[in-house]
Amino acid sequence: MIRLEGVCKDYGTRQGRRRVLHDVSFTLGRGRNLGILGRNGAGKSTLIRLLSGAERPTSGRIHREMSVSWPLAFTGAFQTHLTGLDNLKFVCRVYGVDWKPLLPFIEEFTELGLYLREPVQNYSAGMTMRLAFALSMAIEFDCFLIDEGLAVGDARFGHRCHVELFQKRKDRAFILVSHDPNIVKLYCERACVLHDGRFYEFDTVDDAYAFYESVRPAIPTVVFD
């Protein structure tokens, strides 16, 4: 279970502090899922950073009673001077997993061939994405964090991601954030809306969708409340 209680996040701007998340609370049970709809700048990625533990809330608490992944297919943590294989070894060491049994899956899924042993800086965007997704699948988590993520790569890659994540791991929990209501509708049993840093819960995905369509984001100001 993951439980957020009154989570707020402030960032400093040159013109003063600004609250980008206001009093976000929700609970996600083991094996359940949640779609969070939000437009650009609504606070989606901030929420993902807090959920993954990369940053800490300004106030409020996050209780994690299941293991939470890093954002799915996140490429930012790659050391691009290192090879794909070195990056795999690093992630495996951090999570205390033996990398050798994982190699066949990584080779098969990424289709990188000899490039698995080349520096990541020489990869195309698509190759980097395939490696990142494969690493996310290599370590087992109770709950996956998905930030947009799914709309990447070509159709075949999209399909293979779909199989790995939503078919082979359909017993896992996940939190999916997106600005695209169709993706949320397709994958999630429950939908919420993040609007101007505030969190709105709804009984049905359709209600969330209707609300999301009806509101327009405010222009950011530094008024602190």
Binding site: Y11, G12, G53, A54, E65, V68, A77, F90, V94
Partner: protein, 263 residues
């Protein structure tokens, strides 16, 4: 990976994470070409050898009867212990912020990794040089190795606490980095690397003995040269300074960890 992890589990995770970070840092910095990770030791060795050559040529033992090569090796190696890890820790949090997406990786691990690497490199360089020059009979072995080790340990503690403090403070403001460069440059001649405290006039002694690392360098030299040198140090004072620096480092690090993501 639930919230309730015992102290032993946390300890095991931290060991695992630091090992992963160490390997990652080693391969990233030195690669696998030519001598690879041996550069960690070779780089400080080259520095120390260069300085030793200069000092030998210019008579930096100031007419004392101290053997200049051993004087230079003990002196310059000491500088590496407190200076290099600080330099590596500045910017360390920012550069590794994306690793914090892995929940087990914490700011402490990132800084500890960089400190450990620099300490290991400087210590190995000191050891290799001492053994190498001893084997070709350019220098004598230390009179009291235990004292040298004690001084080295105190210096390592000081360097680690300083690196933690300055590295964490640098996450708050780029000013810290700007100011650290001139400070470290000015501290070098005062740090005891190139003189014995006894050579100074009394007022000068009191002044340089305010710097904690001078005490450790004196202890190292006493262990190395024995009774031929008159040393001035106060380990109680240095322990006090180290404790204060350690506490301030931990405090700053926790504060810095809270505001990761702020630019």
């Amino acid at each position: 990976m639930a919230t309730q992890t015992s102290l032993m589990q946390s300890f095991a995770i931290q060991r695992r994470v630091i090992r992963a970070l160490l390997l990652r840092e080693l391969i990233t910095r030195f690669g696998r070409q030519n001598i690879g990770v041996l550069w960690l030791v070779a780089e400080p060795m080259i520095f120390t050898l260069g300085v030793a050559a200069f000092w030998a040529a210019s008579g930096a033992n100031h007419g004392s009867n101290l053997p200049i090569v051993a004087f230079a090796i003990t002196g310059y190696s000491s500088v590496l212990m407190w200076r290099n890890s600080v330099g590596r820790c500045i910017g360390g949090i920012e550069q590794n912020a994306s690793l914090l997406y892995h929940r087990n990786v914490r700011v402490m691990d990132v800084l500890a990794t960089r400190i450990l690497l620099e300490m290991a490199g400087a210590t190995a360089s000191f050891l290799v040089l001492t053994v190498a020059f001893f084997s070709i009979e350019w220098i004598q072995p230390p009179v009291d190795s235990l004292r040298v080790v004690a001084g080295w340990f105190m210096l390592a503690w000081f360097g680690a606490a300083l690196a933690l403090s300055v590295g964490a403070a640098a996450a708050f403001s780029h000013l810290v980095e700007r100011i650290w460069h001139p400070i470290s440059y000015l501290l070098f001649p005062l740090s005891g690397a190139a003189f014995m405290v006894d050579w100074l006039p009394p007022a000068g002694r009191d002044f340089v003995l305010m710097l904690p690392m001078v005490h450790a360098v004196e202890l190292i030299r006493e262990g190395y040269f024995g009774d031929v040198v008159r040393t001035h140090y106060d380990m109680g004072y240095m322990v006090g300074c180290n404790l204060a620096l350690t506490l301030s480092g931990l405090f700053l690090m926790h504060a810095a960890a809270r505001r990761v993501g702020e630019k």
